[in-house]
């Protein structure tokens, strides 16, 4: 009977994680850890750990370094020696090409930034409302609605029927709405929000009810201010979804829009020779020997740099996404 209350579908119990943290903090305050003599094997393990963690960190970073290096290299050097770890024949030529006729890249930026800002705001509003309602134990339909949403992760219509339905029946082919709307929420984000809600003490809601506040007012004025970490985490994943989007664009936008979302623009530059030429030359298609290798790398840097600059600041919320949600999305 109560199992449906305590374990939301598909979720590692967040409460145990949070309580574990609290208990740990308390313990660490109470008793200083006794100095334990370390043996040879402990030192060996520690040494191995430092070595392997360093190696893996370098391994994770290396591809990024190579892309940036290549973007600042001379095309002739790349053609002779191939891509390497350091820039060869340092030059900004590739970036000059991109920003000589910046119409394409700026258009793509505008589309992606608009979608990311609007989508994150609207998505957060809808998801937090739903999460709040599903967290309310006195809500008669919480289990039915939870299951209604969760079921879509278990069974789906499949790509082709969805494609026909959204593209033809709803008539959204060639419309940014096809991309924008479908990224507004996922069952996983709603479950994540609902899990986060458990850190809001239920007494807060009851006190609101006693004071005669309506359900929406309890949500907007009492619960929402306490949900800032949840909003930050869910908002981050929504924003990532919009920023990194290329898949729905490839299905529904194709070449029907003038400005493709940023990552889809990059996808085309990498995969088709014409897209590269069109993106830097505009109407002036007389350029014959484009520095295509370095241009691809510079385009990747331009499309990725903003999120890389934001990353250190949002990383905290990125981590809580997996510790609280702990569902493989």
């Amino acid at each position: 009977m109560h199992s449906s209350e305590t374990t939301a579908p598909g979720v590692v119990d967040v409460v145990t994680v949070v309580e574990g943290k609290k208990r740990r903090a308390k313990r660490n305050k109470q008793a200083k850890p006794r100095a334990v003599k370390l043996g040879a094997s402990d030192y060996a393990l520690r040494g191995i750990s430092y070595v392997f963690v360093s190696l893996f960190a370098v391994f994770c970073l290396l591809p990024f370094v190579m892309i940036v290096s290549a973007s600042f290299s001379a095309e002739s050097e790349i053609l002779r020696h191939g891509f390497g770890l350091f820039p060869r024949g340092f030059t900004m030529t590739a970036y000059e090409y991109i920003f000589k006729s910046p119409r394409q890249i700026l258009g793509s930026y505008a589309v992606t930034v608009t979608m990311t800002v609007l989508g994150t705001a609207i998505g957060l509003f809808v998801i937090s409302m739903t999460g709040f309602a599903l967290y309310r134990k006195d809500f008669r339909f919480r289990n039915q609605i939870s299951f209604f949403i969760y079921f879509t992760t278990l069974f789906s219509a499949g790509l082709a029927p969805t494609f026909i339905w959204v593209g033809s029946t709803l008539g959204l082919r060639g419309s940014y709405l096809a991309v924008f709307l479908q990224l507004l929420m996922t069952p996983w984000l709603i479950i994540l929000m609902k899990n986060f809600m458990r850190t809001v003490p239920y007494e807060v809601i009851e006190s609101g009810k006693v004071d005669g506040a309506g359900d929406f007012r309890i949500f907007a004025q009492l619960a929402l201010p306490m949900m800032k970490p949840a909003l930050a985490t869910v908002g981050l994943f929504l924003a990532m979804g919009y920023w990194n989007e290329w898949y729905l664009s490839s299905l529904y936008l194709g070449s029907q829009v003038e400005f493709r979302p940023l990552q889809y623009h990059l996808y085309n530059i990498i995969n088709t020779a014409n897209a590269l030429r069109n993106s830097v030359a505009g109407d002036n298609v007389t350029i014959t020997n484009l520095p295509s290798n370095t241009l691809k790398m510079a385009s990747a840097v331009v499309a990725t740099a903003p999120v890389l600059l934001m990353y250190p600041f949002v990383q905290k919320y990125f981590v809580s996404g997996i510790t609280v949600g702990a569902v493989k999305g």
């Binding site: 199992s3 374990t7 598909g10 590692v12 574990g20 313990r27 006794r34 334990v36 043996g39 402990d42 393990l45 520690r46 750990s49 963690v53 893996f56 391994f59 994770c60 190579m66 892309i67 290549a70 191939g82 390497g84 809808v126 409302m129 739903t130 309602a133 006195d138 809500f139 008669r140 209604f148 949403i149 969760y150 278990l154 789906s156 219509a157 499949g158 790509l159 082709a160 029927p161 969805t162 339905w165 709307l181 479908q182 507004l184 929420m185 709603i190 359900d215 990532m240 920023w243 290329w246 889809y264 996808y267 499309a303 999120v307 890389l308 990353y311 981590v319 997996i322 702990a326 493989k328």
Partner: protein, 313 residues
């Protein structure tokens, strides 16, 4: 629900709907979203049993029974796609969990705070970036003329390898890229679990003279078991579903590699996008949905019997 019923008279559905009208309204946008984008296309799966054409529509096109499935089975394609999808997922799950646990144990040994912080930040990064960038990285590393791997081979006196036409290499490449992307982020859960272990257990082990290996074997690994089981169940449920973005951006439409790289998602996408083939792609999609659904149910049923707390629902 039951708690309410025992204290009050059972209320009618309409009455309780009226009482919770605000909460229902708050759920309405999300419910409408899933109705429109998830439930409404479902009847369209009927296409799998027809010879679909746009003019007659989904329910007007001629009914062909199971012929689409027959074709998929006889051509051997369904078997190839199923095998590839499942084998890749098994490799991802087995290797992924081993590496994540190993990394979490090693991170736990790091004492320098800034070293830990910076290395973790760097290791989560690959999971944060767009999958299109992974295609860029693959181009940077593997292309024949200017790829970093081939230039390294040439520089050391070898002959360049045509990586994009050697199907046998790609299972290793794809698994390596997946590990590169997800090991750091995936280790967070295990790391959190290790941090949650009672410190007195470690002290007791040290007093008993346990070596580092014994500490791992008898304290850490048993404590990670519940986390491992939960993650394993999650991934078992998804074993029929591939990571489309990764495969498509690495391999794309390169037919020379299909034997070892084609998974259900990539095949369906290709059928829809490049061949306008809606019947076969719907049949494959329906097969995937039903098979996948049965797998989740089975896995959940088994875990429920083992330990109710770990069950998904």
């Amino acid at each position: 629900m039951a708690g309410v019923a025992t204290t009050r008279r059972p209320r009618s559905l309409l009455k309780s709907a009226w009482d919770s009208k605000v909460l229902l309204l708050m759920c309405l946008p999300a419910v409408a979203f899933f109705v429109v984008f998830a439930y409404a296309p479902m009847p369209g799966a009927w296409i799998a049993f027809t010879n679909f054409n746009y003019r007659d529509g989904i329910f007007g096109s001629p009914f062909v029974g199971l012929r689409n499935f027959e074709f998929l089975i006889k051509s051997g394609q369904l078997w190839l796609l199923t095998r590839n999808t499942i084998l890749y997922n098994v490799a991802f799950i087995v290797l992924g969990n081993i590496l994540q646990i190993a990394l979490a144990i090693m991170l736990n040994e790091i004492r320098l705070r800034y070293f830990k912080k910076i290395s973790q930040t760097v290791m989560f990064l690959p999971y944060f970036i767009s999958v299109v960038l992974i295609g860029v990285i693959a181009f940077n590393l593997f292309n024949y003329d200017t790829g970093a791997i081939n230039s390294l081979i040439v520089a050391t006196g070898g002959d360049p390898v045509k990586i994009y036409s050697t199907a046998g290499l790609w299972p290793f490449i794809i698994v390596a890229v997946q590990m590169w992307q997800s090991t750091g982020y995936g280790s967070i859960v295990y790391f959190a679990a290790i941090m949650g272990i009672d410190k007195t257990l470690f002290e007791a082990a040290a007093i008993d003279g346990a070596s580092a290996w014994q500490r791992i074997r008898y304290v850490i690994l048993p404590s990670l078991k519940p986390t491992f089981i939960i993650l394993l169940l999650f991934s078992m449920g998804g074993i029929m579903h591939g990571n489309f973005g990764l495969f498509w951006n690495l391999v794309g439409n390169n037919a020379q590699l299909f034997a070892t790289t084609d998974i259900i998602e990539t095949a369906v996408y290709r059928m829809v996008m490049t061949q306008n083939n809606f019947t076969t792609s719907t049949a494959v999609g329906l097969y995937q949905s039903i098979f996948g659904f049965a797998l989740v149910m089975t896995a959940n049923w088994i875990v429920r019997r083992m330990n109710k707390d770990y069950a998904l629902f």
